[in-house]
């Protein structure tokens, strides 16, 4: 029971459930207009209390990312994906760029060097994504 399908100990489970569904919507795994798993389906999958799963669903519904259809279930609202991607971009700076800059400063990498490194890494990723072989 420890490994609740990859959920961690550090944050409330309902927030993790909401986060995972939001990820799926942002990645397109759950399309707009598609039915999302029910409270009981989520509870069984993650092996958690159904009330906790419901709280996660309601968090997204309150944000307007899911819509309830009475007697049928919850569905991904239209425009949900666009809104989530916009949120993610905002979070990106705080979550990734700020620590990157801090760590770079600690290692004595100046901003110009850092930008060069980012560019190189970005080119390498592009080559890999095209199926190319480096070296």
């Amino acid at each position: 029971m420890r490994d609740m399908a990859g959920l961690d100990e550090g944050t409330p489970l309902f927030a993790q459930i909401a986060e995972r569904l939001a990820e799926e919507i942002a990645d397109g795994g759950l399309a707009e207009g598609e039915r999302v798993p029910s409270m009981n389906e989520l509870a069984a999958f993650y092996r958690i209390n159904p009330a906790t799963a419901a709280k996660g669903l309601n968090l997204l519904a309150d944000d307007g990312l899911l819509e309830k259809r009475r007697g049928i279930g919850m569905f991904v609202a239209s425009g949900a994906r666009r809104r989530l991607l916009a949120q993610r971009r905002q979070r990106f700076a705080a979550q990734y760029v700020a620590p990157l800059v801090t760590e770079a400063a600690r290692l004595g990498i100046d901003p110009d060097e850092l930008i060069t490194l980012v560019r190189e890494s970005s080119q390498a990723a592009a080559v890999t994504a095209q199926g190319g072989v480096t070296v």
Partner: protein, 297 residues
């Protein structure tokens, strides 16, 4: 909502030993509640009193609005599965039949499915069952009774991890379809943590914590690193359980951490590890009462 279980000022004394000391609690209908604490903390005494199998020395206990002891109307709506339950000289099948007469919501199909899940032979004499299989029988009865109030007191003595997982999964599945009030006393806290909506922590006969289980996640974090860095990080915070080896310290910080705290910890090169519910319960029991409620409020 009216609570299905309501306990006020409950004290239970045995000669010179106080098993329960001024316990007050309420349990809402339709939730799974964990009753957590060490052996001898008073969990079994509390459950036995709720099940009407023992009388309070003082205080009031109401289940469905009435005292449970010698109250058949209340007791038929309640099932109590205790650790190491003993049975008359029966076969498994007979024990199930007797249970089916007593519990108005008994579901024979569920009982049969659970027997198969646990690999319990219906024709076997109960006294020939292993300890784990006897525990499984208790679980089958506890779930198939579908009683409004279901009390499980450490129901899995002798059951291995696989069988316990079957218990948790079947409990969740049946609860989802037939919501009811389930009180589960357990010392395998981390295993059951995800199932629980509320937790009640009892220590030396007193309630030391009641909370939504999910609210306790992330409420305490182990922080470790060099002494100076840990001291800088923990200044002004509530700290439990400081331990030190050479120039390295490990402490438990109480209270949620935000993004800024995490960045600070990272820049100080500290390791952050959230406490599991089990670790939190161990820590909470060692602190003065309601430290945690004050800090998480």
């Amino acid at each position: 909502m009216t609570p299905v279980i309501s306990v006020t000022g409950l004290t239970r004394r045995y000669r010179d030993h106080v098993a329960l000391d001024q316990v007050s609690l309420e349990v809402e209908a339709g939730s799974i509640v964990g009753l957590l604490g060490r052996n001898g903390a008073g969990k079994t005494t509390l459950l036995r009193i709720l099940a009407g199998q023992e009388f309070p020395s003082a205080g009031d206990v109401l289940v469905h609005g009435a005292p449970p002891a010698e109250n058949e109307a209340v007791l038929r709506r309640m099932v109590f599965v205790r650790e190491d339950q003993t049975y008359p000289d029966f076969k498994v099948r007979h024990a199930l039949r007797v249970a089916s007469w007593f519990y108005p919501n008994w579901n024979a199909e569920l009982a049969d499915a659970l027997l198969a899940d646990f690999g319990l032979p219906a024709g076997r004499a109960i006294k020939k069952l292993s300890r784990g299989m006897r525990s499984a029988l208790g679980i089958v009865i506890g779930l198939a009774a579908r009683a409004d109030v279901t009390l499980f007191d450490e129901p899995y003595a002798g059951l291995d991890a696989v069988a316990r997982q079957i218990f948790y999964d079947r409990l969740l599945a049946d609860y989802a379809e037939h919501p009811r009030t389930i009180l589960l006393s357990t010392h395998l806290i981390d295993e059951a943590a995800g199932l629980l909506e509320r937790v009640i922590v009892i220590d030396r006969g007193r309630i030391v914590l009641t909370a939504d289980a999910d609210d306790l996640r992330g409420v305490a974090t182990a922080v470790s690193g060099p002494v100076l860095a840990v001291d800088e990080f923990t200044a002004g915070r509530v700290v439990w359980d400081r331990r030190r080896v050479a120039s390295r310290v490990s402490v438990v910080v109480v209270g949620g951490l935000d993004e800024a705290d995490r960045l600070l910890a990272r820049s100080l090169q500290l390791d952050l590890t959230p406490l599991t519910l089990q670790q939190l319960v161990v820590q909470a029991a060692a602190q003065p009462a309601d430290t945690l409620e004050r800090t998480s409020a």
